[in-house]
């Protein structure tokens, strides 16, 4: 596997490599991960920083937390 191929990896492929899960579960893991965080996952993998990958996955989803507030202000 060349260095070039490593850089072409997607976040989904990285999670499969790091956690050993199939793509079905990878899709579930990435369901609420933003495009920016997906890039961060790939970048962390290239640095062999699996702790950082876990931290990204553990982050609360900002959009889903903020969404109820917006709805509330509209109702008001």
């Amino acid at each position: 596997m060349s260095e070039k191929k490593e850089k072409e990896l997607t976040a989904a492929e990285v999670l499969a490599r790091v956690y050993g899960v199939g793509m079905l579960e990878v899709d579930m893991m990435l369901a609420e991960v933003s495009a920016q965080d997906r890039d961060a996952i790939v970048a962390a993998y290239e640095k062999k920083d699996c702790t950082a990958i876990q931290a990204i996955l553990d982050k609360p989803n900002v959009e889903s937390v903020e969404a109820p507030k917006k709805k509330k202000s509209k109702a008001e």
Binding site: M1, A16, R17, V18, V21, G22, L24, M28, C50
Partner: protein
């Protein structure tokens, strides 16, 4: 008398975007595995009590659709939780006059909680690869581990889209030609736990994951002091150790074109050791048997799969 044949396995745990219908099935079992206690005691050679101690339900099936098996389970398997979705369903089709009966007369066994894993992928020269899969059931306290249901429509026609066979093995950058057979044992040790004398297990633990890749080849001259595979073995890394499986085509063209990204690769790291440097009987051709003991390299699990690989 109603007769049923195996049909398909439908995998649809909570959180999945859609059901995955696994076809290409060559064998399917729904094992209950009851543990019945039947003990004779002093004064009688007969058991006066027969009691049920435990039930260990599991589904076991084999499929030729190894790409779907891999993308569904990966190395460590798939957690099955079926509260809003079915979980796993093993379908059997009722036959009538020798063919599948129309309408809703078919059956399934459903497993709502547990884990689905691949136990082994095996392939021989010129033969099709097969994945042996297993789903061990748990009890969630409410739903029984196995729930049989009849009077059902079938979940569609199971796709049987492809066959895969051997292509190449390279370990530590050394190409190993003439492969005759290959077994990829996923090496999953799964401990099952229950308590309070409940009949069913309620939890499980992947306590050890040690994949072992075993293969035999005709090229016994690769056992060398240097340049091939030496006595102490050969170290491989994820970057220079890969097993490739080629995808077959139905029809007169035997294989998908090498450059098309539809083949399967398995990258791994570990030590390749020679199990048997030479083995032969009578005046038959000799073989060499290898064992590749894999390891986690810190950022890649021992078996890294791609179902969109090219061949080279």
């Amino acid at each position: 008398m109603a007769i049923y044949t195996g049909h398909s396995v439908n995998v649809y745990p909570d959180g999945a975007g859609a059901a995955v219908l696994i076809g290409g099935i060559t064998q399917m079992d729904a094992d209950i595995a009851p543990e019945i206690n039947s003990e004779e005691t002093a004064g009688s050679p007969y058991a006066l009590n027969t009691t049920i101690n435990a039930l260990k339900p599991k589904m076991a099936f084999s499929t030729r659709d190894i790409a779907k098996a891999i993308s569904t389970c990966g190395l460590v398997g798939l957690n099955i939780l079926g509260t809003s979705n079915p979980g796993i369903e093993l379908y059997s089709a009722q036959m009538e006059n020798g063919v599948v009966k129309s309408g809703s007369s078919h059956r399934k066994v459903r497993m709502s909680t547990g884990r689905l894993v691949i136990r082994k992928i095996s392939i021989s020269h010129q033969q099709d690869a097969q994945a042996d899969m297993e789903a061990m059931a748990l009890w969630d306290g409410t739903n029984l581990p196995f729930i049989p249901t009849g009077g059902l429509a079938l979940p569609g026609t199971p796709a049987d889209p492809a066959r895969y066979t051997l292509h190449s093995i390279s370990v530590g950058g050394v190409a190993i030609p003439g492969v005759q057979s290959l077994d990829v044992d996923f090496g999953l040790t799964i401990d099952m736990f229950g308590g309070d004398s409940d009949l069913y297990d309620r939890n499980l633990l992947l306590s050890k994951i040690q994949p072992i890749i075993s293969f035999t080849t005709l090229n016994t001259d690769l056992f060398l002091t240097s340049g091939g595979v030496p006595l102490l073995g050969l170290t491989g890394t994820q970057a220079n150790t890969v097993i490739k499986l080629r995808k077959r085509l139905t029809g007169a063209t035997p294989f998908v074109v090498d450059g098309t990204a539809e083949h399967i690769s398995i990258n791994t790291a570990g030590i390749l050791s020679i199990d048997k440097a030479f083995s032969s009987s009578n005046n038959k051709r000799g073989e060499i048997a290898y064992k590749l003991t894999t390891r986690f390299d810190g950022s890649n699990v021992p078996l890294v799969f791609s179902t969109t690989a090219t061949l080279s």
